[in-house]
Symmetry: C2
């Protein structure tokens, strides 16, 4: 751990530098930008600042994940997501399947059984009706697979040049049967951190589909509904928290977790499952796969004693065959995520800065 070393940076001791960084970390983020830029939608630091500095003061506590709602003894989970992915169709999926799975997953990681979804379309004038048909059929198929119905919908059309073919909002309502089981308050030092499979597949597949990389692979998006995998994990052991690692990737999920639960997370680089094609593409793009979006992978924080049982449960499901224990929760330093590298060192894994992979969901 860096804190245990004792070098000096200029006139400050390393401890003073760390204290100063910690003080800055704890400050309420200030929004200095005067105009929205792509990074505000990337799910990383700029999105976080926008939420903290603008949405939270206005709305109280709007959650990007499923929010819980008490209804006289019952607990509903509600989540909303907007999809602006480009292109609309990509290896392994399309915007419709992505939207349905994404919302199903937000509910699933909250421990909720999905009750219904809604769909809000923004169509650009000139969109081929055939494209819309393919997207809606794909949504319907994804909803059937996840056992949820699309209950309400809305369609708006904007003039040519004021949109980009098709944007899609999906909102989901589910019911949480055991609301006391999962939550930031359950996370404690010593807990194991698991991922349900290889990371970065979706982000890489989208970049490849755009032709941004001169690379031919058979890599596909991992878009998939995680409700069965979540149930399997919950049945297998003492799971404290689950998140799906979408925009911003595993690094962002763990940073949010560390900040919100005021714990540290230590990852072991060798344990993180990454496909060779993703590793290769990441190298060319200069992006760490830890920041790449996944659309069918969950991160689970599990009581240390149950980690292996939960791991086995994940691995016994087709979507979790490559699940792994990638790290652990520590008490100190709160809010910090770091990585023990393959070379024996360690480095801080901060939140995503900028938007290296625009419009991946």
């Amino acid at each position: 751990m860096p804190a245990s070393e004792s070098s000096r940076v200029g006139k400050w001791s390393e401890q003073e530098v760390l204290d100063r960084i910690e003080a800055i970390r704890r400050r309420a983020p200030r929004l200095r930008d005067e105009a929205i830029n792509m990074a505000h939608g990337a799910g990383g630091k700029a999105t976080h600042t926008l939420v903290e500095a603008l949405f939270r003061p206005a709305f109280g506590n709007p959650s990007g994940d499923a929010a819980l709602l008490s209804l006289e003894g019952r607990t509903l989970a509600v989540t909303t997501d907007t999809y602006v992915v480009s292109p609309l169709f990509f290896p392994g999926g399309d915007i419709g399947e992505l939207a349905v799975n994404g919302t199903v997953n937000d509910l699933a990681v909250a421990g909720a059984q999905p009750l219904c979804l809604t769909a809000g379309f923004i169509l650009e004038e000139g969109l081929p009706v055939e494209t819309l048909r393919r997207v809606t059929e794909s949504m319907a198929a994804a909803a059937r697979r996840a056992g949820v119905s699309l209950l309400a919908g809305d369609t708006k059309v904007v003039p040519r040049g004021k949109g980009d073919l098709l944007f899609l909002n999906t909102t989901g309502v589910g019911e949480v049967r055991q609301p006391e089981r999962l939550g930031l308050a359950q996370v404690r030092a010593g807990d194991a951190v698991l991922v349900s499979g290889t990371i970065g597949d979706h982000g890489t597949a989208i970049m490849l589909a755009r032709g941004d990389l001169d690379l031919e692979t058979d890599l596909e998006s991992d878009t998939a509904p995680l409700h069965e995998l979540c149930s399997a994990a919950l049945e297998a052991g003492d799971v404290h928290l689950m998140r799906d690692a979408t925009r911003g990737g595993v690094a962002t999920v763990l940073n949010e977790l560390a900040a919100e639960a005021q714990v540290a997370v230590a990852m072991r680089e060798q344990e993180i499952p990454i496909r060779d094609a993703v590793r290769g593409a990441a190298e060319i793009l200069g992006i760490d796969p830890l920041y790449m979006a996944n659309e069918g992978k969950l991160v689970a924080v599990v009581a240390a004693g149950d980690a292996k049982t939960v791991l086995a449960a994940l691995r016994s499901h087709p979507l979790g065959e490559q699940a792994a224990i990638i790290g652990e929760v520590r008490a100190e330093p709160p809010g910090m995520v770091f990585m023990h590298t393959a070379f024996g060192g360690s480095r801080v894994v901060d939140m995503l800065i900028g938007d290296p992979l625009p419009r991946i969901c």
Copy 2:
């Protein structure tokens, strides 16, 4: 009524023409367009065709109004709406207030108490942060007025030229306490049709705000939350159905009602409350105010014997001061809406065709 006359159109008798029209009306709509055009988003005939020919086969029965969801003895109402109004700020409101009120109203006319809203933003790169701040503050104020919380949110950013400053989805969840009270099945011949105030204010205000008309008025959008007005109506008498007359106006609401409940609706032109400024603007635009959007007006179908009591209840609320009984439900001809004009004649009021007022919500 036209059916009682007996003229001939070419070789067909009027009755044969009417029968033929009726047969065409009853056909499942076919989507002949190969590309989306603005009319598909206008809420009229093209939107209806898109829903019937494309969304319904894929999703079953997605409702544009609030859909009901049974939850072991309790009934939830869920509704989603996307807002692409241009300009974002207009006399009497803005996109944020419009979105919150619109979703609150979809729940209210379903007889539901709102439980929560979600908000999904699509921001165009370059949007001034100050604009976003004004919109979110306006949403928060509207939510407070309606006594509902914004529980979950999501933000995406699209590159400059791929959006139009800001699009907004709001989805609402409410609870229906007496689900058996309201519904198409309750509507019967003889019921009175009420509106809660002047029609066409919102659509006209938007057209004026765009400067499309060389006209100066102090007309404002009627955007307002209807939950109190709906409660007042329900408490006052035997209300069979409520709808908010947004996109497509009162004419569209009544056409949908007539088609879905297989009844006719007869309106009396003199009874329909319309402001002079709206009437004037409508004349210049060549659009019937019946097709103009309202964002704070409800249409209620009420048992004949209770019509006056419900009218009095509406009028005793500030938002319903100009409420009126504008017509009645009849048994024949099913699916037809017509108007007794001020001149003693009658005319068919069909669904909106085309999109004379794009992006009014």
